[in-house]
Subunit: 226 residues, 2 copies
DNA sequence: GTCTTTCTGTAGCGACCACTAGACAAATCA
DNA sequence: TGATTTGTCTAGTGGTCGCTACAGAAAGAC
């Protein structure tokens, strides 16, 4: 095939030929690609697929659904994106860059973990209910009921990594004295995660009873001191 | 058919003939059921089905999976339970009675909403991670990615009803003076729900941005006052 | 124009889905 | 002993799943 990249299964890899990277050849000779040009825009087709996956989840979105919303035939989909799994992975990556990065941004830009989490929660309320796109977080919802273990595992690791990111940021604030030294960083991070995806989701993802009990105890602090 | 009960589709309804309700006839004549007796215990088969649905969700649990764990043939399943939807509904009802009622019990038995919620959270940490059965809450997880709208709607109403129950109980405590009068009962109820199923899940179920923002603001109260 | 390359549309692959017809088995009733 | 009733077993049904072979269409290279 064109370049040396091949997938493990022997199927040819999805070729990418967007508007930007069409310089080819060895000596920088700017030649337009040979053969019949693609009749659809790859990026917008990917975004349509993302919306479908986000709305209905991985399993419940059939290739027929995808070709419908992307307005292309099945062979074009497979030529451009590989298979359903690869298209989903690429959609999740696109989602992470475009829609799901407000939490990381807050962690990077706010001076304290508290400010970062407060901003994250405020933005999540808006992001998760924004009009014109599916509600909620794609990473949290698209893996449920998934019968493909690899997809489930990949998304689970993303969620746990998010919680770990909160935890390390909180721990850094504790070490720096911006939070009291007796702060239970792990439990606090799990509380933040709980407000985002819930105790039940975390239990499915391997949290222990002790971890959930610590989360529950901290959650009680929101109650008024009478 | 045996009795007048028929389903709308014209298919015969699932007949129940467990160990307790085998008195039949008009004049209380205790006659054992005619015909070949069922070769499996309906209740244990239902519990096996419940575990499968709880573990994998509705869509991802095929009838083939069900007949496997229930150790019966497909015709026996359909004769005893109707169809996959009916079996799932019955399993959810069974789950609610057997595993998912600790929240309602706490609301009924504890003197204040605070105590009820505190106990519920503590018990949830144990229930959601109990060994020997699937982790997490079946009602929260079994509907995700579901391509059957009726199932999704039914479970969504259950979740919203749970939140409404918390809200009314909190409102009762506010009215009775056991909580400060400026308590935002709806937001507090949504916080409790959030710790159980998360902001994202609620956004999928129709919560508005304003509701989620109120939840986020209250969740910040767990942070230490420095 | 012809050749080569690449994409697209039709049409269909085998596998699995939820579900069931029909023959046989096992119980009660007479 | 039949006759009746009901459950189970075998072996499928039509439908959808993810995926693809193949022929034709549309571009550059010559």
């Amino acid at each position: 095939m064109v370049s040396g990249e091949e997938r493990e299964g022997g199927r040819p890899a999805a070729r990418t030929r967007g508007g930007a990277e069409r310089t080819a050849g060895a000596a920088g000779r700017a030649s337009r690609p040979r053969g019949r040009p693609r009749s659809f825009d790859r990026a917008t087709a990917l975004e349509k697929a993302l919306m479908a996956f986000w709305e209905r989840g991985y399993e419940a979105t059939s290739v027929s659904d995808l070709t419908g919303v992307m307005e292309i035939g099945a062979p074009s989909l497979y030529a451009a994106f590989g298979d359903k799994r690869s298209l989903f992975d690429e959609a999740v990556r696109f989602y992470g860059e475009r829609y799901g990065s407000f939490g990381e941004r807050a962690l990077a830009e706010e001076p304290t973990a508290r400010a970062a989490v407060e901003r994250t929660l405020r933005e999540a309320a808006a992001e998760y209910t924004a009009p014109g796109r599916p509600h909620g977080c794609m990473v949290i919802h698209a893996a449920a009921n998934c019968s493909t273990p690899e997809v489930e595992e990949s998304l689970r690791r993303r969620r746990n990594a998010n919680i770990a990111a909160y935890e390390s940021r909180i721990r850094a604030d504790v070490d720096a004295g911006r939070l009291p030294p007796d702060t239970d960083a792990a439990a606090l991070a799990r509380h933040t995660g709980a407000v985002i995806q819930g105790m039940s989701q975390q239990a499915r993802d391997g949290a222990t009873r002790e971890e959930l009990e610590a989360l529950a105890e901290i959650a009680m602090a929101v109650w008024p001191r009478s």
